[in-house]
Amino acid sequence: MAVRVQREDFDIGAELDALTRDRHDIGAVTSFVGLVRDIAGDARIGAMTLEHYPGMTEKELARVEAEANARWQLSATLIVHRFGRLEPGDRIVLCAAASPHREQAFEACHFLIDWLKTSAPFWKLEDTDKGPQWVDAKTTDDAAAARWNKSQ
């Protein structure tokens, strides 16, 4: 289990390789990579700045990761999330889940990104052709996270 919050880019291949190297119990690894788009609604995005709450960010990501490990049989998990100034095409986040079997890995990876989007304290400020705009939280993200509530 590992979470990292960093300004620097990450190498997807190297991260997944490190996660599974010499681990012959792992039969499946799934990953999600979030990228910066150049369009938000009808505005063009030149760049975005990701602000976060150092300390709480790491705690929340670790909580999300621990919850995934409690729910699924996982051999390894990883969350890497960037902050600072990013441009269209740049990588924002990597979630990965490794398991003996694919179903566990697929579901856990989906859960990791859905839950972190509604709990990890990050905020996006988009630099658009209409001026700087803070991104509003989406109700579709809340719905995506709520799908994983145990009561449902």
Binding site: M56, A120, W123
Partner: protein, 83 residues
């Protein structure tokens, strides 16, 4: 007490961090938000719609009835938009 502001709440308030003396009459998060809203027009504007205000005490999400003490680190921010 240390109060941290993030994202557009920070820009409305005009600072990312302030230290306040907590009055004895303020005992929970809801009371603290009422107290902070009186500090400036920017604070009042930031805290006008409580539906879009999230609060963490010592880096953990809490509800409005959560009890607070002078040594707590309070963070106030809008719904998160990472990922």
């Amino acid at each position: 007490m240390k109060v941290l502001w993030f994202a557009w709440l920070r820009t409305r308030v005009g600072t990312g961090e302030e230290t306040i003396a907590l009055p004895d009459s303020v005992t929970d998060v809801a009371g603290l938000l009422d107290f902070l809203a009186q500090r400036s027009p920017g604070h009042a504007e930031a805290l006008k719609n409580r539906n879009v205000v999230r609060v963490a005490v010592n880096q953990t999400y809490v509800k409005p009835d959560h009890a607070i003490t002078d040594g707590d680190e309070i963070a106030i921010f809008p719904p998160v938009t990472g990922g």
